[in-house]
């Protein structure tokens, strides 16, 4: 009896395993070759063009952002215009990446339109994203006009390695800027100038040494807040972002391959975090965080930092993502409404560099061509000026440049009607070529590299390592994981 039961159990288990393997290999895993586009002609009217896929349903997976919120608000208009129903799934970035990796890795086509964060998705799965050039060139489909997005954003969110292949339409453009309390800067301006002899109004006129002076003076003289400055120095991505503003401004570089942070590369070359400029940046940052900034800085990420700023009595200034203006201007969440402004980062030897991290919307290349074309309609629509204006109203900043030429938008900017309008002038400066900096490496091992970098930086801030040692250790470990060390060994150079 026992023997029979044992044999039965083994047989049943084998059957299940074989069945599972059958489903596994039947379900696909690799993307199919891109479907050939049929030859198409232009429609007689625009209405016909937009209605050509009426009756279809598309699934859109996105991070929960102000831009996504704006799109959802206007979705009924798209559905009425096209007859296409859009099912939106909004989630946080970690869950989004999990779902996307499952989706794209299994060759599933249940998600048609996806939020493509530039450093998480393209380096891992850019081959599965549809080449959008064929839709832009198709006479039967509307055009998005890629020239109307600011160039650096377009490079990094819409390409990976291949400079011709376009894999996304720019969607959002989070950029780090310098937020400060206008009431405090106004009240104590004369006193500070009497002590230091210069105007302390934030902007690129202020260098990093002056930034320290301002923060220190505030620690000692400003009653409204406990500390002048706070930073997002938690052992996490936030530490990397915050440090990068200093790093790049000091003239340091990430990797040997100059296209690592822009177009993206398969192999970034040698990690350059041990250069004299990089070590100088690390020494500066260590002193700033340990001796001048709010002591809780080492426990704060960007959300915590924004909350501290919004509380009103903790810090007078911080570097943070520009979208946080929404939080600072929300009376339910902030005690500093109408008391905050923004400027570009302080200036270092390489100028004022503002960390930029944007995303695009992409199309799942494994979906049938009809669904891809219908998805293109959605991508064009979300980048259109009416939707971009709605994004502006929701508090974020549009990525289509011609939006800012719209008379109504100009009026909003002049009057400061919406939170985005308050900081729009700063954003234009931050986005120009002299100020914008892409610091996230776009190569396959970037996530592992990021973890190494912020872990070692955190050890430096905890006094476990000197700045020089931390930077050298970063270089050693990153070179290992990118394969640079092995390459040098093979070439007999190590």
């Amino acid at each position: 009896m026992k023997k029979t039961a044992c044999i039965l159990t083994i047989l049943l288990s084998l059957l299940l395993v074989l069945g599972g393997m059958g489903l596994l290999f039947a379900g696909g895993g690799k993307a199919e070759e891109e479907e050939e586009m049929e030859e198409t002609k232009a429609f007689a009217t625009e209405e016909e063009m937009w209605k050509q896929f009426s009756g279809m349903e598309l699934n859109f997976l996105t991070e929960d952002t102000p831009a996504a919120g704006a799109i959802v608000t206007l979705l009924p208009e798209f559905e009425e215009m096209t007859g296409i129903k859009i099912n939106v799934t909004r989630t946080n970035i970690s869950d989004l990446v999990t779902k996307l990796m499952l989706e794209l890795g299994s060759g599933s086509t249940s998600m048609h339109i996806i939020y493509s964060a530039r450093w998480q998705i393209p380096p891992g799965r850019s081959d599965i994203l549809s080449d959008l050039r064929k839709f832009e060139d198709d006479p039967s489909l509307p055009k998005v006009n890629f020239d109307d997005f600011f160039y650096k954003q377009f490079i990094t969110t819409s390409h990976f390695v291949d400079k011709e292949r376009i894999i996304g339409v720019p969607h959002d453009a989070s950029t780090m800027i310098w937020f400060y309390r206008t009431d405090i800067f106004k009240k104590y301006k004369a006193d500070f100038k009497a002590d230091y002899g210069y105007d302390w109004t934030p902007g690129e006129n202020i260098n990093w040494d002056q930034y320290k002076e301002i923060a220190t003076w505030m620690n000692d003289n400003v009653d409204e807040v406990k500390y002048g400055a706070g930073h997002m120095s938690k052992q996490w991505n936030s530490l990397y972002c915050d440090f990068s503003n200093v790093f790049w401004s000091f003239g340091a570089r990430g990797f040997e391959n100059p296209e690592t942070e822009s177009w993206g590369v398969v192999f970034p070359g040698r990690c350059m975090w041990d250069s004299p400029e990089a070590i100088a940046a690390a020494e500066y940052y260590k002193d700033l965080v340990q001796n001048i900034a709010h002591p809780s800085s080492i426990a704060w990420d960007w959300a915590d930092l924004a909350e501290a700023m919004a509380k009103g009595d903790e810090i007078a200034m911080c570097f943070n993502w520009h979208d946080f203006i929404i939080t600072f201007q929300d009376p339910d969440r902030s005690k500093i409404v109408d008391k905050v402004q923004a400027a570009v980062m302080p200036t270092g030897p390489a100028g004022s560099r503002n960390y930029h991290s944007g995303a695009a919307l992409a199309i799942n290349g494994a979906a049938p061509m009809k669904y891809q074309k219908a998805s293109w309609l959605f991508l064009v629509w979300q980048a259109s000026i009416p939707v971009q204006k709605e994004i502006f109203k929701m508090g974020s900043t549009p990525v289509r440049m011609s939006t800012y030429e719209d008379p109504e938008v100009k009026k909003w900017m002049k009057e400061g009607t919406y939170p985005g309008a308050l900081i729009a002038p700063t954003m234009f400066t931050a986005w120009d070529d002299d100020h914008l900096e892409y610091v996230e490496g776009r190569f396959p091992q970037f996530v592992e590299s990021l973890i190494i970098q912020y872990t070692e930086l955190s050890k430096m801030l905890q006094n476990e390592k000197t700045p020089e040692q931390a930077m050298k250790d970063i270089v050693e470990q990153v070179n290992d994981i990118t394969g640079y060390t092995d390459l040098m060994k093979a070439a007999g150079k190590q």
Binding site: M1, K2, T4, A5, C6, L8, T9, G20, L23, L24, A26, G27, N59, L61, E63, D64, T65, P66, N87, V88, T89, R90, T91, N92, I93, D95, T98, K99, L102, S106, S108, S110, S174, W302, A303, A306, E307, A310, K311, W321, D323, F324, I326, T327, P331, D332, R333, S334, K335
Partner: protein, 284 residues
């Protein structure tokens, strides 16, 4: 002058009093530790976010329903509540119906290798959720179920059903067979004896199993985040949405937490007698 026995009795009395006092103090600490977070969550749900972090904390304040209103109007709370009820409720009903039948069969039936089968069933419950998400995803993808409610119900049932079978088998094992045998002698079939005699007698057990199955499904995040999409997302997934890259919307998080906790708390309070009896059913 007090005698030795009087002194002993007084000392024993004082010791008993000291023991009771310490017991009450420890109980009060435990109660505070347990109830304070719930109080804080509820009170935060009724505050405007900017007032949630004031030092000193606001113990007395004017309550506001703004968080509830925002969740209802802008967030689509109703859809998430409906999805959670459908997913948790459906998987619980399936688990109870089939769990009772299977548990009874394993308890009373003369099945070769039934203890092996029962053990094999419960081992599936031992697997961590993370370990089964990928195989289930592949299965659901093959049947075009990803993003649809049936996938979530099936996923919950894969965990709830073995658990229900195992527990119901234990409950039926503890029932005396004589009552069912007496019913069968009187002309009942085995199935009728199950429905008329055995099932009513394990009602507390059914209540306990149903509550535990519902709680697991109601609180689940792992399955829900992978297998659902916009229209089928449940409350735990909705709560995670409030932890945005641009800050945690604390007011709404606290409100959702209150909503998540409430049904389980209310059900637990209503059926606590049955729950305790059910959970200790096999212990006597």
């Amino acid at each position: 002058m007090a005698t030795t026995s009087e002194r002993t009795m007084r000392f024993a009395g004082k010791r008993a009093l000291a023991g009771r006092t310490i017991g009450w103090i420890l109980f009060a600490i435990f109660l505070l530790w347990t109830i304070f977070p719930i109080y804080w969550m509820l009170s935060s749900a009724l505050k405007i976010e900017v007032n949630m972090f004031t030092i000193p904390p606001q113990w007395l304040f004017k309550p506001s329903l703004r968080n509830f209103k925002n969740l209802q109007e802008a967030f689509g709370l109703g859809t998430y509540v409906k999805n959670s009820i459908i997913a948790a409720g459906s998987s619980t009903v399936i688990a109870i119906v089939f769990g009772s039948l299977a548990g009874y069969g394993l308890s009373r039936g003369k099945i070769p290798g039934k203890s092996t089968i029962a053990f094999w069933m419960i081992t599936t419950r031992m697997a961590p959720i993370v370990g089964v998400i990928l195989p289930l995803y592949i299965l659901f993808k093959a049947f075009h179920l990803v993003g649809k409610m049936p996938s979530l119900i099936i996923a919950y049932t894969t965990f709830n059903l073995p658990f229900a079978v195992w527990l119901m088998k234990a409950f039926f094992d503890d029932l005396p067979r004589e009552m069912e045998e007496a019913a069968m002698v009187d002309g009942c079939s085995k199935l009728r004896a199950f429905f008329v005699v055995a099932l009513p007698m394990v009602r507390p057990g059914i209540v306990a199993v149903a509550t535990l199955c519902f709680m697991f499904a109601w609180n689940d995040y792992g399955f829900a985040v992978v297998f659902t999409s916009g229209a089928t997302q449940t409350l735990p997934v909705a709560t995670a949405r409030l932890m945005t890259e641009f800050g945690i919307v604390w007011g709404q998080v606290m409100t959702l937490g209150t909503i998540l906790l409430s049904p389980v708390l209310i059900i637990g309070l209503l059926i606590r007698k049955n729950l305790v009896r059910g959970l200790t059913f096999g212990a006597v």
